[in-house]
């Protein structure tokens, strides 16, 4: 195999994230993704440019959006001959898209590309009832009036109930929150620890907004200039007052305050070879070094739905001869505060590390001062497919801010996903 090239992270852009049914209630995935791409193009001055590839996707997707990313490219300021493809991997969608683009760059197939993702729960696809759908499909094959009469006889009022997308696992019928509640109880994650993590996320993100950190990462959209889920004035008292929404309604610890809400938004990240970046007058924020995916068997109760990254990280560390402590920043997606805390607890647990991860010693604790320092999904919200690109751009921009990192500027990215999937990555300055 030829030597791999570097995949530089050059720029990121997202639209502010909006709670479901608010600022982007009337925006489609195509609208939002186009806006995110256009903001990225404007920031980088790449209008009319042909890129090697744009990869991305959405989790909640209308059937008509089968070529969503390519359509967004056509609607954007990028050259119309920029190829694009859709992928879908739940909450890992845009991180996996970024891996795909980075890999294409590294093996020399393309010089520059964009990883992106978008999701809306406001403009979610609503399908016809499965029974009705079958009748309608048969109607297409009907040969004459007799057939139609026969089919009419099959129609029932109950078939009018639409199929609405549900935030639940196909294999278990449990929602993501219900799954996490099981894991939270297993790891005995206390309520106040979850609330503290949620509060820190809001405070970190509010501070990052205040100091202008997002000026080069976000472009306003439809009158929204900042994430509207952000609660800069949140407090432990306010969070403590919320009732549990997952798990046991009395003894549960997971509330609307320490769980991510349904969110609309889009994010994109531009990657390129350092040479391409220099040719286009763009500076390099960081390098996309490597990634590792994993999955867990949550169906049969062996592992928690959102615990897959716990397994991917030691494998990625081993490949690079690193320890968990060799990082300056940790970007762990906050699906729920308890997800982050369960992940950290598992890495510190000797028995778990030995029996589940097959390690002689646990990975150990991380310096919590380095965790999600510009806030994460609890504050910003979590438009499923957009989150990975948001995190990659945030981590790269954070690393680019300083030159005096203890480990030279290295960040660990970890994003859990529905289906028991997980994807983790290393980004270095």
């Amino acid at each position: 195999m030829t030597d791999l090239r570097e995949a530089a992270i050059v720029a990121g852009n997202r639209i502010p994230f909006a709670r479901s049914g608010t600022a982007y209630a009337r925006a489609s995935n195509l609208d939002m993704l186009t806006a995110a791409l256009d903001g990225l193009v404007a920031r980088t001055g790449l209008a009319g440019e042909t890129l090697g590839e744009v990869a991305g996707g959405a989790v909640l997707k209308h059937a008509r959006d089968f070529n969503l990313v390519r359509e967004a490219v056509l609607a954007s300021a990028l050259a119309d001959d920029t190829p694009a493809f859709d992928i879908q991997k739940a909450c890992d969608t845009s991180l996996e898209a970024t891996v795909a683009v980075a890999n294409k760059i590294r093996v020399g197939q393309i010089d520059a590309g964009i990883g992106c993702g978008v999701d809306t729960t406001s403009d979610a696809p609503v399908a016809v009832n499965d029974d009705l759908r079958k009748v309608l499909l048969q109607a297409q094959a009907a040969a004459g009036p007799g057939d139609y009469v026969k089919l009419l006889g099959q129609l029932r009022p109950s078939q009018l109930a639409p199929e609405v997308p549900r935030n639940e696992e196909a294999s278990t019928g449990l929602s993501m929150g219900e799954h996490q509640a099981i894991t939270t109880a297993e790891w005995n994650i206390p309520r106040d620890a979850q609330d503290e993590l949620a509060l820190a996320s809001h405070q970190h993100m509010a501070a990052a907004w205040e100091r202008g950190f997002f000026d080069d990462l976000v472009t306003p959209y439809l009158g929204l200039a900042r994430d509207n889920n952000l609660r800069p004035d949140s407090s432990m008292e306010k969070l403590a007052g919320l009732k549990p929404v997952f798990g046991d309604r009395d003894t549960g610890t997971m509330t609307a305050g320490n769980s991510t809400p349904l969110t609309d938004g889009a994010a994109a990240v531009l990657l390129a070879t350092p040479e391409w970046a220099a040719d286009h007058g763009l500076s390099v924020l960081a390098r996309f070094v490597d990634a590792e995916s994993s999955a867990v068997d949550y169906v049969h109760g062996h592992e928690g739905l959102l615990m897959a990254p716990v397994y991917a990280v030691p494998r990625l560390l081993a490949r690079h001869g690193l320890t968990l402590q060799d990082f300056d920043l940790y970007e762990i997606h906050e699906a729920f505060a308890a997800t982050v805390l369960s992940t950290l607890a598992a890495w510190e647990d000797e028995e778990f590390s030995r029996e589940r991860l097959g390690l002689d010693a646990p990975l150990g604790a991380i310096d919590r001062e380095r965790l999600n320092v510009a806030g994460s999904s609890l504050a910003a919200g979590h438009p499923f497919a957009a989150t990975g690109a948001r995190i990659v751009a945030t981590a790269a921009a954070l690393l680019a801010e300083r030159d005096d990192w203890e480990h030279g500027g290295r960040a660990l990215v970890s994003v859990c996903a529905a289906g028991g999937n997980g994807l983790v990555a290393i980004i270095e300055k």
Binding site: G39, R43, A47, F214, L282
Partner: protein, 446 residues
């Protein structure tokens, strides 16, 4: 895009009604379109001074049919422009030459016609009589400007002795559709030009420009106009205006820089962006500005501070960083946007007028520093310009605002943009430290 009154006044029936009641008649101004000739017809250059021959060369050089003597009205009934070199008028008695030239010719000026009178800065005259005569020219041009019909303009260009080569850029500008809303002004060429004549079709080709407040209004027009003329434009505006900014930047193939110009490190951020992306900047346009109107007694300090910080202090800070660094190009141009309010004052705008008058002082004060960088710094002072801001004014106030000038209409953002573009031309280096009004010869502060 003209206002309702202009559309009525230029309509058959509307025109008859307006004639009947004696209201002013705004003309549809001839504005520059890429590819068109500077003017629609021949021009006549009169006078016996040394500037007349320079003017003939300049205007001939842009493809105009230049006459030295009035042509037979049978052959040439209309002139698109008249230039009169009055620089050699040395006594009050000599001034009758103005009457001799314009008395009959002014009637032969076509629609959106151009008159430019050339003189000397009075203070550079050799004696009292000459200084008196040269000072007289301003009264003449301002009055003739008010007699113009059909979109015609009259301007005075004073050329310092030895600075004749600096006349080319202002003359090309004033004798074209680019100067549609510049009327009744006196412009001083204080130094000869050492810059090359720019490409006439794309005068900003291969240059890099920075425009603040580029997301909408006049700033958007500036960015689009500079890009039309060949510049690569860095579009700067507040992060909260980022969506409009991205649209403008992508439309013109520029880049968007979301930035609050009052940030402490705003100058450094601009320098860093320009240095990384383009290496240098040839033209910086300080357009970003706000109004927070209140009469003095009712104005809280917040309104005062905000307007001064954005409209004046930020410009000073950013220019200090630019002059200190090495990001400015070989012949840099800085153009600041002042306002007619800064000249005439305006009720309820003590904060705004203070800041905009300060801008006039700032460009005058920095002229020598910029000259030391082989560059220039100037300001434009827009009068009533049709923008989202003026669209918010009460109907009557708005209509009066439009009418209070020799062209009887509001200007358009592109009129300001074209003027800024001209001050950025490579051979406009004879003009430095000045403020040029883009006001249609507004009565206020004239």
């Amino acid at each position: 895009m003209s206002d309702l009154y202009t559309r009525i006044a230029t309509h058959d029936l509307g025109e008859r009604v307006i004639d009947l009641v004696g209201l002013p008649k705004p003309a549809v101004l001839r504005r520059h379109e890429p590819g068109q000739a500077p003017l629609d017809g021949p021009v006549l250059v009169g006078g016996t001074g040394e500037l007349a021959s320079v003017a003939r060369d300049v205007l001939g050089g842009v493809g105009l049919d230049v006459h030295h003597e009035p042509a037979d009205p049978e052959d040439t009934p209309r002139y698109a422009g008249l230039v009169f070199d009055a620089s050699d008028l040395a006594t009050s008695g000599d001034l009758v030459a103005l009457h001799d030239f314009f008395h009959t010719l002014v009637r032969r000026l076509g629609a959106s016609g151009r008159i430019v009178v050339l003189g000397r800065p009075p203070a550079t005259s050799e004696n009292a009589a000459a200084e008196t005569a040269q000072r007289s020219l301003e009264g003449f041009t301002r009055s003739l400007g008010k007699e113009m019909r059909a979109g015609g303009t009259v301007n005075l260009v004073e050329v310092a002795p030895g600075a004749a080569s600096g006349l080319a850029a202002p003359l090309r500008f004033l004798m074209s559709g680019r100067s549609a809303f510049v009327a009744g002004q006196r412009l001083t060429v204080s130094a000869p030009s050492t810059g090359a004549t720019p490409d006439l079709v794309r005068p900003h080709a291969d240059t890099v420009a920075v425009v603040t407040g580029a997301a909408r209004g006049i700033g958007e027009a500036i960015a689009r106009t500079l890009a039309r003329d060949g510049a690569t434009v860095v579009c700067v505006d507040l992060p909260s205006a980022g969506d409009d900014l991205a649209r403008v930047a992508n439309d013109i193939g520029g880049s968007a820089l979301q930035l609050d110009i009052t940030d402490e490190d705003a100058g450094a951020t601009i320098v860093d962006h320009v240095a990384t992306r383009h290496g240098h900047a040839d033209l910086v346009v300080h357009n970003a500005g706000v109004t927070r109107d209140k009469t003095m007694a009712g104005m809280d300090q917040q309104r005062w501070d905000m307007v001064l910080a954005i409209n004046l202090t930020a410009i000073e800070s950013i220019n200090a960083v630019l002059l200190d660094g090495d990001v400015l190009g070989a012949a840099p141009r800085i153009v600041c946007v002042s306002s007619m309010s800064g000249i005439a004052g305006n009720r309820g705008q003590t904060n705004y007028a203070t800041s905009k008058a300060g801008v006039i002082g700032h460009v005058a004060a920095l002229a020598d520093d910029m000259a030391a960088h082989d560059g220039t710094i100037n300001a434009v002072a827009p009068g009533f310009i049709e923008t989202e801001m003026t669209a918010q004014m009460p109907v009557a106030t708005r209509q009066v605002g439009r009418m209070l000038n020799s062209l009887s209409q509001g200007g358009l953002p592109i009129d300001v943009a074209e003027t800024i573009g001209f001050l950025g031309w490579s051979d406009a280096d004879g003009i430095n430290g000045t403020t040029l009004r883009v006001c249609g010869q507004n009565l206020l502060g004239a």
